[in-house]
Amino acid sequence: MKHIKTINKANLKETAAKGGCGKCQASCQSACKTSCTVANQKCER
């Protein structure tokens, strides 16, 4: 493409169909605790 460069290949939609197993790490959002935040987590399936 001349005008647009897409930098990622994944599509969230595809993850919905197969997702939701709940095996991934809990992800604390609190500022006092560096547990995982959501977006950098790994899928553990």
């Binding site: 919905a16 991934c24 609190s30 006092c32 935040t37």
Partner: protein, 456 residues
Amino acid sequence: MIHKYKLGGFNIVLDVNSGGVHIVDEITYNMLDNVEPPFAEKCPEKAMQKLSQFYSVEDIESCYNEIVELYNDGILFSEDDYEKYANYSVASPVKAMCLNIAHDCNLRCKYCFASTGDFGKGRKLMTFETGKKAIDFMLEKSLDRKNLELDFFGGEPLMNFDVVKQIVEYARSKEAEYDKKFRFTITTNGLLLDDDKMEFINKEMSNVVLSIDGRKSVNDYMRIRVDGSGCYDKIMPAFKKLVSLRGDKEYYVRGTFTKHNLDFADDVFDLYNNGFDQISVEPVVCEATEDYAITEKELPAIFKEYENLAERILENERKGGKFNFFHFMLDLDQGPCAIKRLRGCGCGNDYVAVTPDGDIYPCHQFVGIEEFKMGNIDEGTFNTEIKSYFSKTHVYTKPECKKCWAKFYCSGGCNANNFQYAGDVHNVHKLSCQLMKKRLECAIMLKAFRAGAIEE
């Protein structure tokens, strides 16, 4: 829904619902203000008229065709059709626990959310008996989940380290019987670290969070002992030693920035220059009346500093350096599934906190808020109504989140912060939202840079 912005020399377009990230040229950036689905075969006359003042017809047409192609591929202007999945995690097993092993602390950090360690309820240490029952609770309530997470938290967990060791030993003794695997983590201020504790932590804890704010002057202003003296000179060598002995296992040095160090990029780099490569420095969350509080007024300076930090990280990478800044870490390709992103932390549903008295709360931030007390480990009580309430709390039940471009990255934010500072779990803590969005913009920009850098 799309979100577009300019940062670091890039024109960035995020397709919110597919997660697609596109770097676009100027004409595309402008055209996206003038076109939207449904798309006709040719560029609409109105858009053509507007753009042809600046660009050639040929360019406008080719740009339009690319936009339509990405739309047809489902990675631009894609629809939000995830709400139907929002009920997936109802009645989830409890697989993660924050064990407040010590409601006591040997520091008196001025910004402590836990009232300098006792959570406003008096200084107490957890007994092994209560810790053992907490493990039994997890073994039972985790149902078919194999990986269980247990975080030793406080207060300062090292003040009750013998009990930490007993609990770890007990949990390990049950793993084979129950077909479970415990992942332990511990958060410490480092004051009581010695060789034996380091050895145990490095052997048993899959992650360790080491609390330090950055520069000595910054750290010692906030993180003080009972006598008022700073702790930097004691903890820095201890943290360096622990990390040097840790091998490949995860750790974080973790600091808090406040209104008093809005130049926190210097703190991040001070930690890096001290040899740490896993770094988190996060904004303080507190009442706006505190003298160190971050308020709306500080946001422009903080946004600028996040950009400054991102630029310094890029500069460092160009020179061959590398470290992870926790809040800029983002996995655009193999991150969590969309369903996980609807709910985020799972507090009160698949994650709970337990106090030294055995009281169960949705998470460590809710500890002491009576209306959220879920039960007691020693008494064997567990209120599933509160659990159900949290299982039904997700981005589609939070009006502000529903329309936000960042919802699949932050997942509705911290429920406890929402409750404490916005009055309800479903109301967003706007200050945290704005910071989160800025960090995400920076994180995506870094991804854009790295994607370009790889091609070069």
